[in-house]
């Protein structure tokens, strides 16, 4: 793994222009996304409050600049996810491996996300999180359950704890997983960038049209109110 990263770094140095990556955390509420994000930033947290929106952080991973999005996972905010797929190079899907009762809900959300036109085929890291608890699902079980091998994308499933036993350090397997994801995205960088550029442009045009229509509607309504 470290050899890989050294190669990656040397590759960047040779190329000159630094590449940058965007990743997104997905997963049900309470899966541990925000806790993972804090770990990634090197500021482990005990008490992430629930996310009902969006946050982004820039981190350096083996000399590579990575921007990571953290989104809310609750069912009444989950619909925002699809608005971020177009611009990401890879997806980190976090599952609470100790919560058997919500596995099928996680699978539904997972399948919906990974089958979206803008997300399909992009490098994918699945985290079987909360391994510090008892009766957790293994990475193998989760790979089978989510039918990862049927997906046409590079994927890896790791067992991890975003919070260590002492509550502070995340497991190394999580960091390894993220490095793997960045490496995989780097290998496909050119084609990913091309796809991202196209998809982002299409989305931007859609957005602009939507906003223009809204402005028109609102102006009309305001005029009516004044009469």
């Amino acid at each position: 793994m470290f050899g890989l990263m050294r190669n990656l770094y040397q590759h960047f140095k040779k190329k000159g222009a630094p590449r940058s990556f965007t990743l997104v955390f997905l997963g049900l509420d309470k899966a541990g996304k925000t806790t993972c994000m804090a770990a990634l930033k090197g500021e482990p947290t005990e008490d992430a409050s629930q996310t009902w929106g969006f946050n982004s952080e820039k981190v350096e991973l083996s000399n590579v600049s990575v921007e990571v999005y953290d989104l809310g996972g609750g069912s009444s905010i989950r619909r925002i996810w699809e608005n971020y797929y177009a611009e990401v190079h890879g997806i980190i899907f976090v599952v609470d491996a100790s919560d058997e009762a919500r596995l099928s809900e996680a699978k539904t959300a997972f399948q919906e996300a990974t089958s979206h036109a803008y997300a399909r085929g992009k490098p994918l890291l699945v985290c079987a999180n909360k391994q510090d608890l008892t009766n957790t699902m293994t990475a193998n079980d989760l790979t089978d359950y989510l039918e990862l091998d049927a997906l046409k994308c590079n994927h890896l499933c790791v067992e991890c704890s975003a919070k260590g036993k002492e509550g502070s350090t995340p497991s190394e397997s999580f960091m390894e997983g993220v490095r793997w994801l960045v490496h995989t995205a780097n290998v496909q960088y050119t084609s990913l960038e091309e796809r991202i550029k196209t998809d982002v442009r299409i989305e931007k045009e859609k957005q602009e049209k939507k906003m223009a229509e809204r402005r028109e509607r609102v102006e009309k309504m305001k005029a009516l109110r004044q009469e």
Partner: protein, 181 residues
């Protein structure tokens, strides 16, 4: 309940934070502020200028500015942008007719240089009413997912019952970077 207990919990011992509360008229901004201060909320009238609530705890000072939202006074909002650490944008979640209007006002605010990068919490207020929009609908109505340059959060709440206010403020105060000033 209240801002003071929140400040205690945060254990900040220095600095100052300026919080700006904006939103259309009738959204419930003044009611939110009064409820958080445990004041009476039965006799609130539309705000013509602004209200300010200052709190001190252990050397940390929190200033909350509540600005009137009537159409005629919205152009004056810009007088209050300077040095803002975090923004509370209050919406009446039951006012479906004006969701797009309030979304456009917010979009304009987010373009302001002086507010660039300022974290924003949308208080989806009046959740005690049955017609209130859900967070998914609010995110869409306000087009929140076009924001990339700052953190944002939706907090469903009711200034009438107080539900959700504390959680929302907690998120917001956490976003304020310590001793920036």
């Amino acid at each position: 309940m209240g801002l003071l207990s929140l400040l205690r919990k945060l254990k900040r011992t220095e600095g100052e934070a300026r919080i700006l509360v904006l939103g259309l008229d009738n959204a419930g901004k003044t009611t939110v502020l009064k409820k958080l201060s445990d004041d009476d909320i039965s006799t609130i009238t539309p705000t013509q200028g602004f209200n300010i609530k200052s709190l001190n705890h252990d050397g940390f000072k929190l200033n909350v500015w509540d600005i009137g939202g009537q159409k005629a006074i919205r152009p004056y909002w810009r007088n209050y942008f300077e040095q803002t650490d975090a923004m509370v944008y209050v919406i009446d979640s039951a006012d479906r007719k004006r969701i797009e209007e309030t979304g456009l006002e917010l979009a304009d605010l987010l373009e302001e240089d002086k507010l660039s990068g300022v974290p924003v919490i949308v208080l989806a207020n009046k959740q005690d009413l049955v017609t209130a929009l859900s967070p998914n609908e609010v995110a869409d109505g306000l087009n929140l997912y076009s924001i990339r340059d700052r953190p944002w959060q939706i907090q469903a709440c009711s200034a009438k019952t107080g539900e959700g206010l504390q959680d929302g403020m907690e998120w917001l105060v956490k976003q304020v970077r310590p001793s920036k000033k």
